[in-house]
Symmetry: C2
């Protein structure tokens, strides 16, 4: 959680060309909350009638802005709405002062934009336990409100970064009854990454119209197999926030449209993968597929036990197809497993089956797979139809450097 380092080797080639989403405008500014020489506050303003859904950290020590958002989400979508996010300070474990900061910022946005405070959502990300210098943010609200622009989503993605080494964005387009509908989202996060839910901040926008209740259900459901299936370090942020805003400006209702739902899941999964690809110190992106479990929940438990095991993650860093550690992780997960029915593959290479190393196993083949940057580990438990896929990265010296050498 230290200083921004070189771009992750797993990063995409560049920020994607995100289309504007009708009904959403962005602005960002350098307020000097903590960082110098970069933007650190972003404001998004949403057209009247926008439905807003949210999923937040389950941490018992969640931050003041998370508590505030949870209280506001689900309200009637009347009038315009706004989202204001700062980086550099998480306003977490800041006692009553933390609530005051949230209130001061929301009041300032309300004064400038005329938006009701119960439709103003804030988030803060960065160091835990230091008072947020909210005056620096309040002083910039007029400037932000005066520079809103539908095409400024990339700047917004950059303003919310902390230890991220690249800005994260994804988009999709769906045709609904002949009308194109757009989905575009941004995310930040690279450490303290584990469910629930598994990233720090994600904002997704669409110009489709979706009922508030349906939007929340859709977001919560899709989170389970996307953001809640990634892990960098098994640690859970106090600030995790995922919001989905449907402006409805396209005039098309996507409430029960399966194509829209699939496209939304694609955007969420893309952003979730980008968070893993920016995992602190990561050099390998790893997909872990678990099949044959008693049920899906057990499959996910096994997958996360493998994905969070320091011994598995260091073996991956060392390009070692160390399936013994995969067996160990399955054994400790607490979910049902039968040692003698397990099979394990690294990539396409069958390593172990029937509780024993495969008779056809050739370590050179597994070694070759492990040298790649995009790895897969597949486990079949041979017990039932439960399945899950989770994503993680390796555990390297880079993680230690970032986290031992700098104050989070």
């Amino acid at each position: 959680m230290g200083e921004i380092t070189a771009r992750s080797p797993l990063a995409p080639a560049g920020f994607p060309d995100l289309p504007p989403v009708r009904g959403v405008r962005f602005a960002s500014v350098a307020a000097g909350v903590k960082y110098a020489g970069r933007t650190d506050v972003m404001l998004a303003v949403l057209e009247p009638g926008t439905s807003v859904a949210g999923v937040f950290t389950q941490s018992a020590t969640r931050s003041a802005p998370v508590l505030d958002c949870q209280a506001k989400i689900g309200g009637a979508p009347e009038g315009p709405a706004a989202i204001l996010v700062n980086s550099g300070n998480s306003n977490a474990f800041t006692g009553r002062f933390g609530q005051t900061s949230v209130q001061e910022i929301a009041d300032a946005v309300a004064r400038t934009t005329g938006i009701a405070t119960d439709r103003i959502f804030t988030a803060s990300t960065g160091v835990i336990g230091e008072p947020l210098p909210h005056d620096r943010i309040v002083a910039k609200i007029d400037e932000l409100a005066g520079s809103l622009n539908a095409d400024a989503i990339q700047d917004a993605a950059e303003a919310i970064m902390t230890t991220d080494t690249f800005a994260k964005g994804a988009a999709a387009s769906v045709d609904i009854d002949g009308t194109p509908v757009t989905i575009a989202g941004i995310a930040k996060g690279s450490g303290m990454i584990a469910p629930d839910m598994a990233t720090m901040l994600v904002y997704i926008f669409t110009d489709a119209r979706v009922d508030q209740g349906a939007l929340q259900t859709m977001l919560s459901d899709l989170t389970e197999t996307t953001f809640n299936c990634i892990t960098v370090d098994s640690d859970t942020s106090t600030s995790d926030s995922l919001m989905l805003c449907a402006t409805g400006v396209s005039g098309v209702d996507a409430t029960d449209h399966s194509g829209f739902r699939n496209a939304l899941r694609g955007v969420m999964l893309d952003l979730a993968h980008q968070v893993v690809r920016d995992g602190e110190g990561a050099t390998k992106f790893v997909e872990i597929r678990v099949t044959g479990a008693v049920n899906d929940a057990d499959a996910r438990t096994h997958g996360m036990a493998i994905a969070n095991s320091p011994l598995v993650k260091t073996a991956i860093a060392g390009e070692d197809p160390n399936w013994g550690r995969v067996v160990m992780a399955i054994g400790k997960s607490g979910a049902a497993a039968d040692r003698d029915r397990l099979s394990i593959r690294f990539g396409d290479v069958l390593v172990a089956e029937n509780g024993w190393v495969s008779p056809d196993y050739c370590e050179e083949d597994a070694d070759a797979h492990m040298k790649g940057q995009e790895l897969s580990i597949s486990v079949d438990l041979g017990l039932g139809d439960g399945h899950a896929t989770v994503w993680t990265c390796d555990l390297t010296h880079g993680y230690i450097e970032i986290n031992a050498d700098y104050r989070s």
Copy 2:
């Protein structure tokens, strides 16, 4: 889990001077199971009537010798007994061949010593998933049986080491009704360390007499607050075994003797701490005290969440009194916490209270504590009387080196 490296900076000055325990004799030998130029098999032979209790890993993928010990433990303490342990290969995830290896070794010990096979306990520790070359061990049984010696416990402690950087032993003496009773134990373990139970191999011997059932209850109870309260890396071995053998040769019954129980707990805690002090890559020994929880189980959950957090452990490595990460770990643990009632100390330094940094907090004081080798983190939840103490070490480049660079 790689090659043996320099002695841990947290190691005791040397192996303690362990007294002989009447009724137990040891031998060790270099059988070449995997390592060259060192001993790798130890045999302990116990007088007739010895009570034997055991606690084993809860892993669903536990090893063949663990399954065999679990089947044998609790039998009537008739005739002599034996324990044979090899290092270099864990005989885990080795299918039916693993059971055959256990049987071949037990049969060979039975042939040579005349001990019944259901009183012969074996253990194996080392690489997972490779067939155990049991013939190499069987070939050395005569030599082992011919060199048994009551004074050879240190050699036995050395023979069972894998990635350990020092041999681990502890002892205590208790006077029961005017007769001295001895307790002495050995342990190995430095990675893949987490409950249940939290070490790889531990053998403790006493010449007290304790009923089989009472011995098992005592061992299980004391394990909860000793070996099950340590963690190095949150990973759980497939081979964890803890055995306690009471030969009764002193002629004194210690079944209900509280002094004996306390001395035994002291030996167990000493060995558990030595395992943490040999944690892979460890440079700091950390005691985490949790008080004020709703109950003891919640306190332990919070303690282990802190002790296992990669972000807390890397902060400790960096000598950073990063209490924000302690708050994060409490928040994610799943046990009850109220952000605004928390207080946190590093050593004696009150860092945070009432959900906020303490007004008297001086970071220089906390920094000074963190520079030590023996650290403590105290958390009071302000909710009830539940308390627990757990022990861990820091997460350093050394851990990555040991586990990424060598095959376990």
